[in-house]
């Protein structure tokens, strides 16, 4: 299915992620950009979107290194002795997104610097025989 035949739904956004594409929706009326996707532009109250692919480039806006993780991350082997980073990234196109930050020293979080340039990666996890893809980031 070509990009602009896909509905502006969460499923479409996740399908794109599974194809290793970070896609957002751009308002044809006012150019506001949304990642993850939205169908309704809350800047101008119109529902007139088109898909655009994000560069995946951005800067670290805020983060934490988590030692007491969610069940999903515990299942992936993270915990007290192996913390992981949750981050909020400001994409170069403007929107902010959440994702795991890898390629940093999670056990020395004071060494991780806000505003570090990062790029999107697609994290594959095998769970119960299925592969899921999650958005992540790493320093450029």
């Amino acid at each position: 299915m070509s990009e602009n035949e896909r509905d502006f739904t969460i499923k479409s956004y996740l399908d794109f992620l599974a194809e290793k594409k970070l896609m957002g929706s751009k308002c044809k009326n006012c150019n506001a950009t949304y990642v993850p996707v939205r169908k309704l532009c809350t800047k101008c109250n119109t529902a007139n979107m088109e898909w655009i692919e994000m560069s995946g480039k951005g800067k670290l806006a805020a983060f934490t290194s988590i030692t007491v993780g969610t069940p999903f991350f515990v299942e992936k082997g993270y915990g007290r002795n192996k913390p992981y980073c949750f981050s909020v990234i400001k994409l170069d196109e403007g929107p902010m997104v959440s994702g795991q930050l890898i390629g940093v020293d999670e056990s020395k979080p004071e060494t991780i610097k806000i505003e570090t340039p990062v790029k999107a990666i697609f994290l594959e996890t095998e769970l119960k025989g299925e592969t899921r893809v999650d958005l992540g980031f790493e320093p450029v």
Binding site: A61, T64, I66, Y78, P83, F86, S87, S98, Q100
Partner: protein, 419 residues
Amino acid sequence: MGKLARKVALVGAGMCKFGANFPHQRNPDMWVEAWLDAVRRTDNGIEPKDIDACYVGNYSSDLFNHQGHLGPQMAGLVGLVPKPASRFEGACASSGIAFRQAIIAIASGIHDVVCVSGVECMTELPTTGVTDVLATASDSLFEYPAGATFPGLYATLASAHFHKYGTTVEDLMRVAIKNHENGKENPYAQMQSSIKDIMNSKISKIKASGGEIPDWKDEFDFLKSRSNPMIAYPLRLFDCSLVTDGAACLFIAAGDVAKKFTDTPIWITGTGQGSAELSMHDRESLTSFIATKEAARQAYEMSGLKPKDIQIAEVHDCFTIAEIVALEDLGFYEKGKAVDAIKNGETKRDGSLPINVSGGLKSKGHPVGATGAAFAVEAFKQMRGIAERNRQVKFDVERMLTHNLGGSGATCVVTIFEK
């Protein structure tokens, strides 16, 4: 718009002892205890026949206790059926919303007297289960799969605040130390001990077991040690509020019927509620809560008061960083300056703006759905001069504010009380 169509007063308030009350007590048991406490504190008494409706604030009895439909359950236990009974949900601001809706219902003339209930029983689940339930108050579609926990989201906010304003872990620790000092004076609190007490009892235990005695000079050393484990950098265990079971009860009445219950009603002169995007990444600011600013704006406007007029406040310290951000967003201090005020002791019980004299969620405990109503219980006590032990502030409290935040800041209710 933005005005109460008639006067509304708090005429009675009470709570059960907060703590890990399950399995000794479940929601119905704690609720009846809170009701009896509130009835006892209503000067001329109050009976079910005086009350028109029951508004219940609860976050997640469905997931914590496998029980929905709390409105009629709570109403039935105190003789309020067949009157209207409803549950309100807004994460940790659930009973703040129930309280506000009671105020609005009375101001509208629909009801004269409403009973507000806040209940939550969290320790029925193990800690991992509690963490998972709390995470549903944030965005489960995009934040949760990225690894966000509830402390993790506030830790993320803290990282941005540290970066922008130079806030430090010592600044966070001062909030925890102060709130525990206050909670020590609250017989209803879950942890009635100061951090120094906790530190000294740790040292005694280590001595008794023949272990190597730690060289902690003060609470700060203790709070930086392995005895205070990291949860989500920069937040450690003592930066987080407690997992708590509890209930609180409020009686709210229209101005012209309030005198039936008491000669000294506490007037509710301002109420405001705000919202924000559920996901933190969808918000403009990562260092401030727009929901707090909006709720505060409405409440100040309604009461005609300004931040400098407020003498004492209870703010939502679910995490230490949240208290710092609240003091800024409520207009008490400029952005980045609240930490100086805390360092100078201004927010201590004997300071110029006492904050969380109840002990806060940090020490009193945080049964999420009961927290909003419990803030009003402390306002009731401080404004009447009846707070227990050494917790009562040393001046006559005429104007007090409470701030109740939901989830990672997507809901906020602010209330202003006057005598």
